[in-house]
């Protein structure tokens, strides 16, 4: 049989040519250049629809007169900065802003310090430590609504165990309405939030601690580093990226922690535990003014973006330095 394939000499059938698969379009040239983008496209569309569109729509809404009335009558209109002016003119907004600062500050500092302390404790090779690691994770795995309502009962002014413990230890003379007093409501919710969020920070930092090469710590020990010096000059620099990530995540999760405040105190009494997130909810679903609610949400969004960007920039500067 001729192998020349030119049809000459011999009279055999020409060799069949295999068709190139469709995917070969993406192996060379323009196809190869756009292939990665095509693979990312479905995820991008989802992110666009579920993340980017709502954020942009929310920001746009903050410049509109968006109430049930205007929505149902189709008279939604652009009102410029009017929603922001109303928000700034409301004394409750400034109270909520101050409370948000206190709420976030106390949560982030306490969760980072306690989380680091627990991670250092659990980063030991001691028998039975697995049991304690699992136990410390319990607050984090309990659903947030269950946790908040349980703490609400613990704080009950008539039958709450927190009051009972405080009275028995002599710190209080009699039961005290912890969630009903303007001086203590916010801090009481903060305690629950710290209890709930610390295990997550502990997990992140513990994983980072376990990634520190032993050679680094052994070398430092040979040079005489012990205790605080080991922690400050060797351990913390090694886990600074994980620390930064944990801090940013804790900040974001705390700012967005609606359940704890709303279910325990609904922002009361007298707005003493109101944060910007619960205020946005009130504007939206009590005043039925989505434009005003979106103005508060926009302020929160901008704050989070600025803080996160600045912080990560500082971390990167330090790395490069």
């Amino acid at each position: 049989m001729s192998r020349t394939g030119d049809g000459q000499g011999g009279g055999g059938a020409p060799p069949t040519r295999r068709r190139a698969p469709l995917s070969s379009v993406f192996e060379t040239g323009r196809g190869a250049r756009i292939y990665p983008y095509l693979l990312v496209l479905p995820a991008f569309v989802i992110v666009l629809g579920v993340v980017l569109y709502p954020v942009v729509a929310g920001i746009v809404a903050s410049f509109q007169d968006l109430t049930l009335r205007t929505l149902s009558r189709g008279t939604v209109s652009f009102v410029g900065l009017r929603n922001f002016e109303r928000m700034w003119a409301d004394p409750v907004f400034w109270t909520a802003l101050r409370n948000t600062g206190l709420w976030v500050g106390a949560n982030v500092v306490a969760q980072m310090v306690l989380g680091l302390a627990l991670a250092l404790l659990l980063n030991q090779r001691v028998r039975g430590l697995g049991f304690f690691r699992a136990g410390i994770l319990l607050p984090w795995v309990v659903p947030s609504v269950v946790a908040v309502l349980t703490w609400r009962w613990m704080y009950d002014p008539s039958v709450g165990i927190v009051n009972e413990m405080l009275v028995r230890t002599g710190l209080l003379q009699e039961y005290f309405p912890i969630l009903g007093d303007v001086r203590t409501a916010l801090w009481a919710v903060t305690v629950e939030s710290i209890w709930k969020g610390t295990p997550f920070v502990m997990l992140l930092l513990l994983a980072a601690l376990q990634m520190i090469p032993r050679s680094v710590t052994e070398a430092a020990q040979m040079d005489g580093a012990r205790g605080w010096r080991m922690l400050v000059f060797i351990v913390l620099p090694q886990i600074r990226l994980a620390f930064a990530i944990a801090m940013i995540l804790t900040l974001i999760l705390t700012v967005n922690n609606f359940n704890a405040i709303w279910l325990m105190t609904a922002g009361g009494p007298l707005n003493s535990s109101e944060i910007l997130f619960t205020l946005a909810y009130r504007y939206g679903f009590e005043r039925m003014n989505l434009g005003l609610a979106s103005a508060v949400a926009t302020v929160l969004f901008v704050f989070l973006v600025v803080v996160t960007t600045v912080y990560l920039y500082l971390i990167r500067l330090r790395d490069e330095g």
Binding site: T67, L68, R69, L71, S72, R73, D156, P157, S158, Y175, P177, L179, G180, D181, V182, A266, G268, P269, L270, N271, R282, F285, E286, R287, M288, L290
Partner: protein
């Protein structure tokens, strides 16, 4: 062949009839407050089945927790969607009607208007048009623990403010964990106050829009209860934290508080929490005049319903003459006029009669679109501030009046 043709024509006629019936039968979605549909044995399901049998329409009943109902309606209706028929609190009528999300039922209601009690029917009206039909009406009365009343040395529930305060003090003296009255914080507490504001000759917002919240009569009503808490200590500290009706009722159900000001929705909670509790429901103690806040739920139709005729039919059916018996089974008071005849009153369960007895003194809350905000964000904080002694009652109500005036503008 003739027989075959006849059979074929009969079959075709049946199919056409079935198709026509199916084409005229609508499926309606009905949102109802969850306490009215706690389980499949609830009377509302029987009413729905009767409606479906009578009309051929299908009803998709969805119970929604009361605390979520207003927000979910806002989101759904604001988005142009939502159920065809919805049960809404009378206090929300003005806001939803003003927003244009409720269908105007004036023409359909006119022939049957005389069937309804005038007060509840008026609660479904906004700017002269009928947007809701009264389903059930309620008011608040005084629930009294008979054992604690007797132990405090009284044989009958208090009839006026002075007796009310004295009975509460006497109940407080029964023990360190005994109190005279349980109340709510924030919007729950201020709701309980409204009856006493009107009893004292005060007003909240007149129909003309004039705000009278800042007047001394209102401050005196605030002072009665804040003094009972701060001076007499006859209200437990749960008044500072109770954010739901269950939390308000809890001390009464536990036998720690001797009285609670509430409506017929309390009866089911007591039955579940303390079925053997020995209590009486009495008309509210009287101030310079008798008064009680009326509430209840209206049945309304979505202005954008795709089945407006069927939806209106359901609204009329649920609020019609059958509602007298249906509401009796649900421990509620029908808003039908026939529910107030002597025979109907005599047929009422004993625990419903005190509510009916004071129905003539019922006052609705102000019919203004911003009422939800006034109630939750202005009057509720005024109550909280007065209760804690952070402001005097007079200062608290005057501040509230200024804020309401600013919002009304």
């Amino acid at each position: 062949m003739f027989k075959a043709t006849r059979r074929l024509l009969s079959a075709a006629a049946c199919a056409l009839g079935l198709w026509s019936a199916a084409a005229q039968a609508d499926t309606i979605t009905f949102w109802v407050n969850a306490p009215m549909a706690p389980n499949p044995a609830a009377p509302i399901y029987e009413e729905i089945r009767a409606f479906e049998a009578r009309t051929g329409h299908k009803v998709n009943l969805q119970p929604i927790p009361f605390q979520e109902l207003e927000q979910r309606l806002f989101v759904a209706l604001g988005g142009g969607a939502g159920p065809d028929v919805m049960a809404i609190d009378t206090a929300w009528m003005a806001a939803f009607a003003d927003a244009g999300v409720l269908a105007d039922l004036s023409e359909r209601t006119r022939p049957v208007a005389a069937q309804y009690q005038p007060g509840p029917l008026a609660s479904g009206r906004y700017k002269g048009r009928q947007y809701g039909l009264p389903w059930y009406t309620n008011n608040v009365a005084l629930f009294v623990n008979n054992d604690m009343l007797k132990a405090a040395g009284y044989s009958a529930p208090p009839k006026n403010w002075a007796e009310f305060r004295a009975v509460a003090k006497a109940m407080r003296a029964l023990g360190p964990d005994k109190y005279g009255l349980t109340m709510g914080s924030g919007r729950f507490g201020v709701f309980q106050l409204y009856s006493f504001i009107w009893q004292n000759g005060g007003e909240l917002i007149e129909e003309s829009g004039r705000v009278r919240v800042g007047e001394p009569a209102v401050a005196e009503a605030f002072a009665l209860f804040s003094d009972m808490y701060r001076i007499d200590k006859s209200i437990p500290d749960t008044v500072l934290t109770a954010q739901s009706w269950d939390e308000v009722f809890a001390p009464f159900i536990q036998g720690r508080a001797g009285m609670v000001i509430s409506g017929d929705w309390t009866i089911g909670s007591i039955r579940r929490g303390a079925p053997n509790l020995n209590y009486t429901i009495a008309p509210l103690p009287v101030g310079v005049r008798p008064a009680t806040v009326i509430g209840g739920f209206n049945i309304t139709v979505n202005a954008k319903s795709k089945s407006p005729a069927a939806a209106a039919e359901l609204a009329l059916f649920l609020t019609g003459p059958r509602s007298v018996e249906a509401m009796r089974k649900a421990d509620r008071l029908s808003a039908q006029a026939s529910a107030t005849t002597p025979e109907a009153l005599a047929a009422l369960p004993a625990n419903q009669r005190p509510f009916m007895a004071q129905a003539a003194f019922g006052r609705p809350r102000p019919n203004v679109p911003i009422w939800a905000e006034v109630h939750s964000s202005i009057l509720a904080p005024a109550w909280d501030a007065s209760l804690r002694g952070l402001m005097t009652p007079q200062a608290a109500v005057q501040k509230a009046a200024a804020e309401i005036n600013a919002q009304m503008k």
